[in-house]
Amino acid sequence: MALRFEVLGRFNRARAARLTLPHFVSQTPLFMPVGTQGTIKGLTTNQLEEIGCQIILGNTYHLALRPTSELIDELGGLHKFMNWPRAMLTDSGGFQMVSLLHLADITEKGVTFQSPVDGKPMLLTPEESIQIQNRIGADIIMALDDVVKTTITGPRIEEAMYRTLRWIDRCIAAHKKPNEQNLFGIVQGGLDPVLRDICVRGLVERNLPGYAIGGLAGGEDKDSFWRVVAQCTALLPEDKPRYVMGVGYPLDIVVCSALGADLYDCVYPTRTARFGTALVPEGVLKLKHKAMAEDTRPIDPTCSCMVCKNYTRAYIHCLVTKDAMGSQLLSYHNLHYMLQLSRDLHSSIIEERFPDFVRGFLQKMVNAECECSRKERDS
């Protein structure tokens, strides 16, 4: 185990903690931005530090293709390669194969997929995923799991859950750097409480440094999603970090934190930025909208980021989706928003005002929504 997890404050199930990783001491709840190919699109590592990013994600699948894990290893690991001094997490590569490649086939051996380079069939085994992640060198590495869509039902869910449990042992056995990198197991089991229960217990028995709740945020309804998170967090050990994979909507992060989750990742804030959408306390602001052309207010008047201190909605409007700078500035703002939200969650729990914070957060969103539908009705 190469981490320390200290809970500093609680409110009911919510917790604020200090997570000490080999490269950084981070504060949870925490949003982790996704830097797929060894960079967060459009931002320098200095800017990421300034925004307050503490852990960033790299995608094993993409990095293994280019520049290859061997090259990253030869040049001293991903931290050194991209010059990121703080903590890092890599996924197993399995999810990308299933989501990006049509012809991925999952067997007991591993995930078989068509190479995007030459079209030949290739096999990613749990052992290989861990070897690649060992070479990349992130602080947290993820076990290869059998991912199925939450909207699927039937025996496939059960098969995937049991296979995930069998693969975790192969991952643990293959992991060569347990003192430098933390292997997290992933809870699967779809929306079925019985399967989730079996999976959590199975993983907890292995006494891993941390646990992820996987297979969510894939189109299921909010009630089912929150119910699974609530069930898993209740069963997972108190003294280990809990990571809800693929979650990035601010509202989901607030709810999951209230349910006792600690870590989140999603491409949403940066991807939506590139499409011209800003995250604001009221929800989202579409900068492409014509009304923005004459709006001389900042994106979010309550935001203290470099973009909101300097730029009007009107100016950003004339950049978005046309110029690189539009993506750069909106990505900066959106990540700042996500990290500010993370800091607010942490401090409100520590300072015992978590309920007030959540109430205020929800009120702004709901008020804005009401106003929106009223306007629609009036017009």
Binding site: G38, K41, F81, C318, K322, Q328
Partner: protein
């Protein structure tokens, strides 16, 4: 605006000079100087929080094309925000407005007529009337702006050239000097402009296919007609050799798309900046391996864990390796352009500093000759090995 000439080149056959130039709140800048190319007022990929990492005060002059604001935002909105400085949050920068950006907005002389000047822009071909242009200028409030010019390329006929001059000099008060490749027209235009109440001179119509050999005569025809105390800004001369040619003729300010084009192509400037390194470098390595730039997409950089230029103190070279930038280019990540624009801007500003030092120390001609010589030798070498 304040401008004064500080030193004149002592070499024969050159009218190169150094000076100090000051615009608005912008710190005083030494000339010859480079105006940084922008898109809608901000450098193409360098966000405003990264700008302070560039050498100061050298990086405080920005070239802005008013044509970038023809759509997306209205003049009225720009006015109500308070102009460029407020809209961009760059209060201590000097903005110089010149219509063409030499990238996406280029003069299209065949469609220019009595009514206005025509440009090819990302929003199609636009005919800009002087009144529209003035409306834009008054909402943007740049520190300095060039009058709307009718720029003609080198190959148009003499008669067409004459109309160009009449239209530009007629009725406008700020100094755009055009005249294509006709020495007489160039001189006539300069003389007409000088009669007007202008605070400086913008020389347009270069970089449109005129030959390097005909340029010195055209430049000296223009410069020879201008008073010695006004600042001279030129558009369209961007390559190192072209800048040296402009400096030799007595140009003070350059707006240039060179860095943008290098950056987009995945190139990084690497030529030595200081004369001392220059000379020893020449002796030590022979002339063969001298390169002005490297192509970071090349596979030789795949595992190169060194910065672009070992001795460079820019953000990119202090933080990243050639191998990383090579990877970013391979996977089409925007950070590649950000890092390259930072390095290339830093490096090119250093080139301008070396030029100023050479003029002050009375060795500009040697500096220029050595630079061009090495460049020529390198090109010859490349041609031989190809």
């Amino acid at each position: 605006m304040k401008f004064s000439v500080k030193t004149w080149s002592k070499s024969n056959g050159t009218t190169a000079r150094t000076g100090v130039f000051q615009l608005g709140n912008c710190p005083q800048i030494e000339t010859p100087a480079l105006l940084l190319s922008t898109r809608k007022g901000l450098p193409h990929f360098i966000s405003p929080d990264l700008l302070p990492s560039l050498p100061l005060p050298d990086s405080s002059l920005l070239h802005v094309s008013p044509l970038h604001f023809m759509e997306g935002i209205s003049s009225k909105t720009i006015s109500s925000i308070g102009g460029l400085h407020k809209m961009l949050g760059l209060h201590d920068f000097g903005f110089v407005a010149v219509a063409r950006d030499s990238i996406q907005c280029l003069p299209e002389c065949s469609a220019t007529n009595k009514i206005g000047a025509s440009f090819e822009t990302p929003c199609g071909r636009l005919l800009i009337k002087p009144a529209d242009y003035m409306r834009l200028i008054s909402s943007l409030r740049p520190n300095l702006w060039a009058t709307l010019a009718d720029e003609v390329p080198a190959w148009v006929s003499k008669k067409r050239n004459q109309t160009s001059v009449d239209r530009t000099a007629g009725g406008v008060a700020f100094g755009a000097i055009v005249g294509g490749s006709d020495i007489e027209e160039r001189r006539r235009c300069a003389q007409e402009v000088v009669k007007r109440n202008v605070s400086g001179y913008w020389i347009g119509g270069f970089g449109f296919g005129e030959s390097t050999d005909e340029r010195p005569a055209l430049l000296s025809a223009v410069i020879g007609s201008l008073p010695k105390d006004g600042p001279r800004l030129i558009s369209g001369l961007g390559l190192p050799e072209e800048v040296l040619q402009g400096v030799a003729a007595g140009i003070d300010l350059f707006d240039s798309s060179y860095i943008y084009h290098l950056t987009i192509g995945g190139f990084a400037l690497t030529f030595p900046l200081h004369n001392k390194i220059y000379v020893s470098d020449l002796k030590k390595t022979g002339m063969g391996i001298y390169q002005t730039k490297i192509n970071l997409k090349a596979t030789v950089y795949r595992k190169d864990a060194t910065p672009i230029v070992e001795s460079c103190c820019c953000y990119t070279c202090q933080n990243h390796t050639k191998a990383y930038i090579n990877h970013l280019l391979n996977v089409h990540e925007m950070l590649a352009q950000i890092l390259l624009e930072i390095h290339n801007t830093h490096h090119y500003l250093g080139f301008f500093r070396s030029i100023r030092e050479a003029i002050k120390e009375g060795r500009f001609e040697q500096f220029r000759e050595m630079f061009i010589e090495k460049r020529r030798n390198h090109l010859a070498e490349v041609a031989v090995s190809a």
